[in-house]
């Protein structure tokens, strides 16, 4: 199937996503559809663990193309994002050719050629798009600094780069770009404006059950229900870090490995580490939520209520 057939309509994208085990609503599918046809990057924001990065992975899967991933971190600069010369290799070459009496110009041509170029993710995205459209994932952009944002702005606008020794390289097909952010810091509006913005929320009950079923196919239906209800309830509590969908899936996997088919008091206590990742949260859960019989029963037994309703 060619890519144009794959992305022919919004429903089609949604279907493709769910075939690749990514359950989503219409709005994200629309954003992906528009991004593909308008050649604009997708800017995804949302709480940690709601599946932002996964979007890029699945897209690469659907398009059967290479995923180029750039993880942002504090201090990330153009050299680690775009390209760098392989200096040790260049030095070795110079040493090897010492006896050959090459003129400096000839030597320059040798050591500043493509084999001596270390391609970092952005350059890789530009070069490989000469073949087919790759997916470029720029993950957790909020971790990088503002200087890097400005640099990215330039690259994303025309996907070309000038390397003084080689010349200007330009992408023939713009890659599909997915940028994610956890909102630990505000990303500048100038960058966001060039993207299609989408906020991924925690899933609702129905969707969460669907996701568990698709991702952890061996799980019992009743357990999937119970886990989803528990997670929906616990996200309403005031916690330092609310568990996302990735925690739900970890937990479901863990329960499966432990051969539990019902969520009871003991199981929850044993596997609490799967969903709560802060000591303060675990303490709070134990003292003010779990210790309260009404809340505890709501977390565990609203399943039967749900079923009745």
């Amino acid at each position: 199937m060619s890519t144009s057939e794959i992305f022919s309509s919004i429903d089609d994208i949604r279907q493709q996503l769910s075939n690749h085990r990514y359950i989503t609503d219409q709005s994200l599918a629309t954003v992906i559809y528009l991004s593909y046809h308008l050649h604009k990057p997708i800017f995804l924001e949302g709480e940690p663990g709601v599946g932002k990065t996964e979007v890029a992975l699945v897209l690469a899967d659907i398009l059967a193309t290479k995923l180029i991933r750039m993880q942002c971190y504090e201090g990330l600069d153009a050299n680690s994002a775009l390209y760098e010369w392989n200096y040790p290799k260049q030095l070795l070459r110079i040493k090897m050719d010492e006896q050959c009496n090459l003129s400096p110009e000839e030597m320059g041509q040798v050591i500043y050629s493509e084999p001596y170029l270390v391609k970092r993710p952005l350059l890789e995205a530009i070069l490989s798009s000469q073949g087919n459209t790759p997916v470029l994932l720029i993950d957790e952009l909020d971790r990088a600094d503002e200087e890097f944002e400005a640099f990215l702005l330039e690259i994303l606008s025309d996907f070309q780069v000038s390397i003084p020794e080689i010349g200007t390289l330009k992408a023939t097909h713009k890659p599909v770009v997915v940028i994610t952010s956890n909102r630990t810091r505000d990303i500048h509006d100038a960058l966001k404006r060039r993207c299609l913005y989408h906020w991924i929320d925690y899933p609702d009950l129905e969707k969460e059950i669907k996701i568990i079923r698709v991702r952890v196919p061996d799980i019992e239906d009743s357990l999937a229900h119970q886990v989803s209800i528990f997670m929906q309830n616990i996200r309403r509590e005031d916690l330092l870090k609310k568990p996302g969908i990735s925690e739900t899936l970890d937990w479901a996997e863990a329960l499966l490995k432990l051969h539990r088919d019902v969520l009871d008091d003991e199981t929850v206590e044993l596997t609490l580490g799967c969903i709560l990742k802060y000591r303060e949260d675990i303490q709070k859960f134990r003292t003010s939520i779990w210790a309260d019989p009404a809340k505890r029963s709501r977390l565990l037994t609203s399943y039967s209520n749900h079923e009745a309703g």
Partner: protein, 390 residues
């Protein structure tokens, strides 16, 4: 003024999709969502791509192009229904919702009203007369204990000016490499360039080292009864600081210590603030500074403090706890941190002397003792931080 059909109807026009999308984006700008022209163009370009009869897809097309902040999504959706679907049932529920609002903590609905009020053309002349930044008269200072009445617009203006103030700080702190003639790591890039003239023989060496690391700011905020008036302003400052430097940690204390960093991860200040009273159980209680500092040192000290951190304490120093504990804990804190800044809302008052028990005991351990009662003091704090943060 509400953005209801009487205002929206004349703005609609029968001239077709493009014209209406442009008018709609103008309305968005009027309620405070910044929409750029290329974004509008892209939205229009997207129209032929979608099934126009599918309302969800159309809404999504406009939203993803025209909105670029999470906080604006709710505002957008309201206006979308008001503009494109004048008879939509959700409109009735919106106006019902806004009527019962409590003015203290604006939710997005009443916030929406505030915005439209501020930007409506009818009171444009009035708007220009309004001062941009907020000033406090000395009178307000003497009326301690009364809650500070800030309108939403004023609070927004103050917040913006604070953010602007912090901007230089955002650009200065970084962990990038810089080149030096001495250092731990060799910089091959520079060496190769430098030694080209010797035909590849490495004679001159060059080094790189990391730029000075950021310092972590740990902010401890007194929320006891004696603090109500000034707390809002400093919280705005800290919220803005957290936006540019995610290492910042926030704690609240009165009789006990509460961690509040997660609240300030919320992009919108009003939302962050509205959750405060739920999280802090002893809001406006008494003060036990020493006890709270001990809790901080024991529980969070190891994790958060290093010789590089800056601790900011915002308190008036009225302490009901044990003074010896306070001294002892400040001494411990002093050893673990780079600088301690104490912000005192009272020290701006004429003839103020730090004679109250707690403040007096704390003074010998502080690096900076700054007032915090007017926007001017925020500026001083900003400059102080700039000087010591890098």
């Amino acid at each position: 003024m509400k953005l209801d059909d009487t205002i929206i109807a004349p703005r609609r026009c029968g001239k077709g999709m493009i014209e209406n999308i442009v008018r709609f984006s103008d309305l968005l700008r009027e309620i405070g969502i910044s929409v750029s022209l290329p974004a509008v163009l892209d939205a229009i370009k997207g129209v032929p791509l979608i099934e126009i009869s599918d309302l969800g897809a159309f809404q999504c097309l406009l939203r993803t192009n025209l909105v670029c902040r999470k906080d604006d999504i709710a505002k957008f959706d309201r206006l979308f229904y008001a503009y494109w679907l004048p008879k939509h049932p959700s409109r009735a529920s919106i106006s019902a919702e806004t009527k019962g609002q409590d003015g203290e903590q604006p939710t997005s609905a009443s916030l929406f009203d505030n915005m439209t009020e501020l930007r409506s053309p009818t009171d444009a002349s009035e708007k220009t007369d309004r001062p941009v930044t907020l000033r406090y008269s000395p009178d307000t200072l003497s009326k301690r204990g009364e809650p500070l009445e800030l309108s939403f617009a004023q609070s927004q203006a103050l917040y913006e000016s604070i953010s602007k103030l912090l901007h230089p700080l955002a650009n200065r702190i970084s962990r990038r490499f810089k080149y030096t003639i001495r250092g731990k790591e060799i910089s091959l890039r520079r060496i190769l360039r430098k030694n080209m003239q010797f035909g590849g023989e490495l004679i001159l060496l060059d080094f790189k080292k990391k730029k000075t690391k950021k310092r972590r700011v740990v902010f401890l905020c007194d929320v006891s009864g004696s603090m109500n008036v000034y707390t809002l302003m400093i919280l705005q400052f800290v919220h803005a600081l957290k936006r540019i430097d995610r290492l910042t940690e926030i704690f609240f204390f009165s009789t006990d210590l509460t961690k509040g960093t997660h609240l300030f991860q919320e992009g919108d200040f009003t939302t962050a603030i509205s959750k405060l009273p739920q999280v802090i159980s002893d809001w406006s209680g008494g003060t036990r500074i020493g006890h709270c500092l001990r809790r901080f040192n024991e529980v969070y000290g190891k994790q958060l403090l290093s010789g590089k951190s800056i601790v900011m304490i915002f308190s008036d120093g009225w302490d009901r706890g044990d003074v010896d504990v306070l001294k002892e804990q400040l001494r411990t804190l002093r050893q673990k941190t780079y600088k301690i800044i104490w912000l005192n809302p009272l020290s701006g008052v004429k003839n103020y002397q730090p004679i109250c028990q707690g403040m007096n005991a704390a003074l010998p351990f502080l690096d900076y003792f700054l007032p915090m009662a007017t926007p001017q003091d925020i500026r001083i704090l900003g400059r102080t931080l700039q000087a010591i943060m890098v």
